[in-house]
Amino acid sequence: MSSEKSSQANKNKSAKKGYGGWWFLLLVIALYFLTWNYNSDFINASLKHFQHLLISITPVLGLVFIILWLLNLSKGMQDKLAQLADKNSGIKGWLVAVLGGILSHGPIYAWYPLLQKLENQGARPALIASFLYARSIKIPFLPLMVHYFGMSYTLLVTFYIAIFSVLHGWLVEKIIQKTLPAQK
C-alpha cells in the first residue's frame, strides 16, 4: 500500500516538473565560465574529460533508448518487466535486481530513464535501490582488483556487496515508507 503511495507521489512530482533541469545546466555552465577566469587550464582539462565521458556514454544511451523504445512499443513487455519488479515479485524480483545491477554496463546516468519507467509501472523502490547498489560489482574489471588487492579481498568485497545490495534495497524501502507523509 505504501509503495503504491510512493509511486503515486513520484508521479505527481513528475507532472509538476518544469525547467529545473535547464536551470541546473545553466548554473553548471556559469560555474565553468566563472572558473575559467581564474584557471583556464583546469577548465580545458575538465572539458577534455567531458568529451571523453560523452563519447563513452553515447553507446550506452543508444542501448537504453532501444530498450525504452521497445518497452514503449510493447505493453506486454512493459507489464512483464514491471511484474518482475513489483511487490509480488518475491525472490525472483530480488534476483533480477541484483543480477541486472551486476550485468548492467556503462554510466548510471544512462539507466535512469529506464528505472524511472519501471518505477512508474509499479516497480518496488527496494528493487531499484538494490539494482543501483549491485552495479558496484563490475565483472570485467575484477581482474584489476585482484591485481591490486588479491583474490581473497576481491571475492570478499564482491560477496559482501551482493549481500549488502539486498539489505540496502530493503532498508531504503522501509525508510521511504516510514517517512512518507500521510495522504489527506
Binding site: S6, A9, N10, K13, K17, G20, G21, W22, F24, L25, L27, V28, I29, Y32, T35, F42, S46, L47, K48, H49, F50, L53, I57, L61, F65, W69, N72, L73, I108, Y109, Y112, P113, L115, K117, P125, I128, A129, L132, Y133, S136, K138, F141, L144, M145, H147, Y148, F149, S152, Y153, L156, V157, Y160, I161, F164, H168, V172, I175, I176, T179, L180
Partner: protein
C-alpha cells in the same frame, strides 16, 4: 504505424527531460575527475585511520567515473601507506554513493528516494569496509 509514432514520441520525451541534467552532471563529473587526484596528492589523506576512513568515504562519494579508476586510485593509496579500511570504503562509496549524479537521480526517481538511498549507501560503505577488513583478519 501510430503505435511506432507513439513509442518514438514517448521515448524522445523521456530523453529530452533527462538531457540538461545529464549534460550538467557530466560537466560537474569532469571537474571532479580533475580535483580528486589533486586532493589525494596534496596529502589530505594519511592522518589516522578514523579521519582517513571518513575522508575516503566523502571523496569516494563525491567522485564519479568507471569503478576501474577507483581501483587504480585505491591501489595507489594503499601503496602510499593508507590502511585497507579507508581504501575499501573509498572503492565502495565510489560507485554506491553519487553526490554528483544526485540531481539526475532525483529528477528521475524522486528527491526522497535519491537522498535516502545515497545517505544509506554512505553509511553502509563504512560497514562494508569494516566487515571486509575484519573477515580478512579472520581468514
Amino acid at each position: 504505424m501510430n503505435k511506432f509514432k507513439a513509442a518514438n514520441t514517448k521515448t524522445l520525451k523521456s530523453f529530452w527531460q533527462l538531457l540538461p541534467v545529464l549534460l550538467g552532471v557530466l560537466l560537474l563529473a569532469s571537474m571532479m575527475v580533475e580535483i580528486i587526484p589533486a586532493l589525494i596528492s596534496h596529502g589530505i589523506l594519511g592522518k589516522g585511520i578514523l579521519q582517513d576512513t571518513i575522508l575516503a568515504n566523502i571523496i569516494g562519494s563525491a567522485s564519479t567515473g568507471q569503478p576501474i579508476v577507483s581501483y587504480v586510485l585505491a591501489g595507489e593509496l594503499q601503496k602510499a601507506g593508507i590502511a585497507l579500511l579507508p581504501v575499501t570504503v573509498f572503492i565502495v562509496s565510489w560507485v554506491t554513493v553519487g553526490i554528483i549524479s544526485l540531481p539526475a537521480e532525483a529528477v528521475t526517481l524522486g528527491w526522497r528516494f535519491a537522498i535516502i538511498r545515497n545517505l544509506l549507501a554512505f553509511i553502509m560503505a563504512l560497514f562494508l569496509g569494516w566487515i571486509t577488513v575484519m573477515s580478512l583478519h579472520v581468514l
